[in-house]
Symmetry: C2
Subunit: 275 residues, 2 copies
């Protein structure tokens, strides 16, 4: 039997040949599936959208974690909102100075399913430096102490369903409030090919919450369009981009050169966000 999965997006989509459907289920927040595919290994699908694949998750997770952490002069306390699969936390923990990581994932089922089917991603969550909270990230940020964190990373789904509030202006302000004086914020901000309006909104919210905010890009094979954007916000006084240390650990995509280069934006993106 030739089984294929295609995440359809704007009348196109990446098709993957499927070896097996390992899991199908549903939480109060979303539908969930884990596929075993020939080209991408195991694939986590939420509400029909690919969240991560074993083959290419390093691209997204390295870039969401290392660019902000190497922008901060000495990150010790890191908050991750979303990202219940554990991939972003895994990369954060590679930084030897990090003492405490709090992961706030709203959907317990994402944690469970990732623990069962994606151990090489979710294994990070049992590290003693990590505390996993299963609650609403917006409420957590609202209640956290001012200046509590060095870095806040938002590893959300796209702005539908439970993630809508993570793209609201108040949430960016809240994240800024709970960051220390040199604090750094990063979130995923969609595809430059398909989500320019989202990027414009995110850019506006970030500029209202942080003295400095810049987009950076990375290839992500399994996401629509193959290139993804991230927004970096900084409370520090140094201009962006900056990379304060060399990676003293193994990476597969990230380098200091990639860090600095990832802030170069296509002309059509510059024009869209320029106004």
């Amino acid at each position: 039997m030739d089984l294929w999965f295609t995440e359809k997006y704007a009348d196109s989509g990446l098709a993957m040949k499927v070896r097996d459907v390992l899991y199908r289920g549903e939480s109060p927040f979303q539908k969930m599936a884990v596929l075993d595919t020939f080209a991408f290994g195991k694939v986590l699908v939420l509400d029909g959208a690919v969240m991560l694949t074993e083959r290419d998750e390093f691209l997204y997770h390295e870039m969401l974690a290392h660019v902000p952490l190497f922008t901060h002069h000495d990150p010790k306390r890191v908050l991750v909102i979303g990202g219940g699969d554990g991939g972003t936390v895994r990369e954060v923990l590679r930084h030897p100075g990090v003492e405490e990581v709090i992961l706030v994932e709203i959907d317990e089922k994402v944690l469970e399913v990732s623990r069962e089917y994606l151990p090489q991603v979710s294994g990070s969550l049992s590290d003693p430096r990590v505390r996993v909270l299963c609650e609403d990230g917006v409420r957590y940020v609202g209640e956290a102490q001012a200046g509590r964190f060095d870095v806040v990373l938002v590893d959300s789904t796209d702005p539908v369903g439970p993630a809508v509030a993570l793209f609201a202006p108040e949430f960016f302000k809240g994240c800024s409030r709970i960051l220390g004086p040199d604090g750094v914020f990063a979130c995923q901000s969609g595809s430059p090919f398909f989500n320019l309006n989202l990027m414009k909104d995110v850019h506006g919210h970030a500029l209202a919450a942080f003295p400095r905010a810049r987009f950076y890009l990375a290839p992500v094979m399994a996401y629509p369009g193959g290139t993804w954007s991230f927004l970096l916000g900084s409370k520090g006084s140094s201009p962006l981009p900056q990379c304060r240390r060399e990676a003293a650990f193994e990476t597969r995509y990230y380098t200091r050169g990639i860090h600095l280069a990832s802030f170069a934006l296509p002309k059509f993106v510059e024009e869209a966000i320029g106004g």
Copy 2:
């Protein structure tokens, strides 16, 4: 009727919803089709592989043309091998100093089909500065005068069928021979995610033919993996990358910042070609 086209590649592939099949035919070299798709506009397909789409061809063509042309101090005479669709020539002609472009396309049918179905790409070929030759690019390079060109661009299909000889070491040496003292060469060199072995070969051939050779990357939505590589070879004495002028014309992807950033390579690519 819901009609979909998928270029299958390593058990995955980009699926596109098709409005109409505008052309299907065959030349002595390859099978050909032009599809009208909802997401990507018109799409030229050669032997089942997407060559270009109206929606994203600017990414590939701007980067294949502008990076080498802005690396050269004053390009006047440009040779394009392949690229019968005319997209690369269109971008070359935006450089006001260019006086002469020779396009050598082996397959007359590509020229014909592009002229009929993709006029906004192929229209460049009727510019008075352009001469179109329908012949074997390898033979042309073998017979051309030493130092005849300032820039040579190889806009080929992947190394199967007629394009195999365009990836041979002798061809790189031939291109170097017909370039002037500051001459610049560029070719497409496949996907960093799927064609690392090809990239290693191309790198070796280029280093044997040019004093300097470096890869650069660009997102190309419709190509497998969504990111594509190009090899730049230079006979000049200045190190790469360099960008000698600002673009004094409209671009949609290319900027000076993108030019310089595109040479930053993922760690896994650095490691693969480093040896």
